[in-house]
Symmetry: C2
Subunit: 393 residues, 2 copies
């Protein structure tokens, strides 16, 4: 596959990968079994647990983050199981489709796109529907640029003894997520966003409470590949030679992931989270100072994805085209309800960096002005630089 041109990925995923991680994939293929592999696998799982801030069981599912989402749904949704599904963005509907595909009964709670999930609505819905057993939540809503208050929602789920499936696809590794402390029963992400690895792995943790729930089901967990009980059975039976589960492991992606994990842990999680906060803050400040309206209130704005409203009278597609053609920077449109109206910038992992933020900010303003706007570049950059200047990082 020849890459005809490479645009730098300031999109909500996949994101840029460090050259060292890319090169790790070019190593000769190794077998996914035997003593060496057992060592490699445990090493990577241990590092993953640090990033997930968890002592729960961790699995690497060959596939996408959707595979991990579905394995969680399949684990705890039986025919008729009532599931609270929050609908605050595009991929929430994926959870809905998955729950329905396992004949779960969806209890939806809808929010305006750009608004977070309101914990009090979760509380009142669970209170009014005591038969709800499971909730799905997207922590960081890629389609809107909102970060949901997962900690508070998890607390409420615990009060109501509800299993929480929390999708952290675009936040894990970039935003502080305390899987165990918060009580996220299933917590999953892909490897291609803040985990800064080329896509192909679903990373997921499973709590003790979730295991008990699975063991106490009335009907068996469906299927084989996306079945955690089956996965655990093989992991245990084959622990001494094939410890990751029953299927072939995508070893090249593991290799890249380990490099990425090493870099993340060397940076230190706390530093990393602060970096994401700061760069997001600078971008928001810059856009705002230029006269561009942000789509999300600062209180809920994601630190890995920034969304803004396309200035009046300008075609968002043309903004993106100019950025690609003249800056080689790719930003993203928005889906569904907000298509055409909102643009999205990803700044995750590698691209949560001053150089990328400043280049993207400048490019956006340049493109808007080229299309007829009169945005103030100087003010924008000044505001962004002030943010950096006044930071202690």
């Amino acid at each position: 596959m020849k890459i005809e041109r490479h645009n730098y990925l300031m999109i909500p995923g996949p994101t840029e990968v460090e050259p060292e991680a890319l090169l790790a994939m070019a190593q000769p293929t190794i077998p996914h079994y035997g003593d060496d592999w057992v060592r490699i696998n445990s090493r990577i799982i241990a590092k993953l647990k640090k990033v997930f801030q968890t002592e729960n069981d961790m699995f690497i599912i060959p596939g996408s983050s959707s595979a991990a989402m579905e394995a969680a749904v399949n684990a705890v949704v039986e025919p008729g199981t009532e599931v609270l599904v929050e609908l605050s963005g595009f991929l929430c509907y994926r959870f809905k489709e998955m729950v329905e595909s396992y004949e779960g009964k969806v209890v939806p709670i809808e929010f305006e796109w750009g608004e977070p999930v309101h914990p009090e609505v979760v509380r009142s819905t669970l209170s009014a529907n005591p038969s709800i057993k499971v909730m799905t939540l997207i922590h960081n809503v890629s389609s809107t640029g909102v970060t949901n208050p997962a900690r508070e929602i998890a607390q409420i789920c615990q009060e109501f003894d509800v299993i929480l499936i929390c999708d952290t696809v675009s936040s894990m590794g970039g935003i502080d997520i305390k899987t165990d402390e918060w009580g996220l029963d299933f917590c999953m992400c892909g490897n291609q966003k803040c985990m800064q690895t080329p896509p192909g792995l679903g990373l997921v943790s499973v709590s003790e409470k979730a295991w008990i729930h699975m063991e106490e089901r009335k009907t068996p967990v469906q299927g084989w590949y996306l079945n955690f009980l089956n996965l655990r059975r093989y992991c245990r039976q084959w622990s001494d030679w094939h410890p990751h589960g029953p299927v072939t492991a995508p070893t090249a992606l593991y290799a890249a992931l380990e490099v990425a994990l090493d870099h993340m842990l060397e940076e230190g999680l706390e530093n990393r989270f602060k970096r994401h906060v700061l760069n997001a803050k600078a971008l928001r400040a810059g856009l705002k100072a230029a006269g561009i309206k942000l789509f999300v209130d600062n209180r809920f704005a994601s630190n890995t994805i920034t969304t803004f409203i396309v200035p009046d009278g300008i075609d968002g597609k043309k903004i993106r085209k100019i950025l690609e053609d003249e800056f080689k920077i790719m930003i993203s449109g928005a889906p569904d309800k907000i298509a055409g109206r909102v643009l999205r910038v990803g700044h995750m992992g590698v691209t949560s960096a001053r150089s990328w933020i400043l280049a993207t900010l400048t490019g956006i303003i340049y493109a808007c002005n080229k299309l007829g706007a009169t945005l103030d570049t100087g003010k924008a950059l000044e505001a962004a630089l002030d943010t950096y200047m006044s930071s202690t990082n």
Copy 2:
């Protein structure tokens, strides 16, 4: 992930990957959507169809070949569906587990390990059980080194209007498989054997007959990720921007796959199949001439995996250890019923090559002799070289 040592993979998978394909993965990550991606995806699918010798729909499932196996089972196995499951080797039991996990009723036919599936047993079983709707078949049995007569079995399935799920995991791209001409309804493999790519993709074709079967089911296909109807729905709906299905595509593995496909098509399928025949023949001739007993009769012996019986009084593990330590060549033990008694050599794609065959043959004899055997190296090499010499290739 640091590779502590690299042993050349003469195992039944994963297998060696060409440096060009490895390096293709080190390219910057590209997005799995948009015009460029639509072009790349169709290009790869078209090349895959050539290797599969099919006009059927082709899917690339992010995950392992087991994901593709399960998607096929899930597509056509409803609760109570009777499924003929041939049990002639280790991974046949995976199909059995999968069918059972979808509440299918397994009608097993067992064969001695090392023996092929006998078409007349398939015929008589289908004849005696007219309610059987589906059959699972492993074309090339990795655990035993047998190639099953898929063409004849497919013919019988057609006569009885049975859907055939044919696993070609360790043969596709190395052994001539005429998906359409033979009538394989689902034909799947991983990308890590004769397809000579680092693992992580399930490649699978779906026949028109299989689609009709899915559409006429009484109960819906289960789940979302491994659900071909769902996959097809998204492929169609999103064809102009996200054509491969609803989830993130492992673009780096696609890149390696395309390089591998290009090399396969440049070589020419017919040349490629002949190469696999010749190298397998040379290895078998050499082992036999050395005085080592082959596990499988020449009539059914696989051209991608050769199995032989560990010489009396010698520990197979020690043979493997010497090969690894002194030759840096990794061969494999055998599972389950034949563990300890049989060793397996993979020669797929890249390693179906004279140099690898001769080095491995020599190494095996060296190891056996070091452990006390008195095998004739000269005769072995002479027999292998005679095979090459008398070939027209």
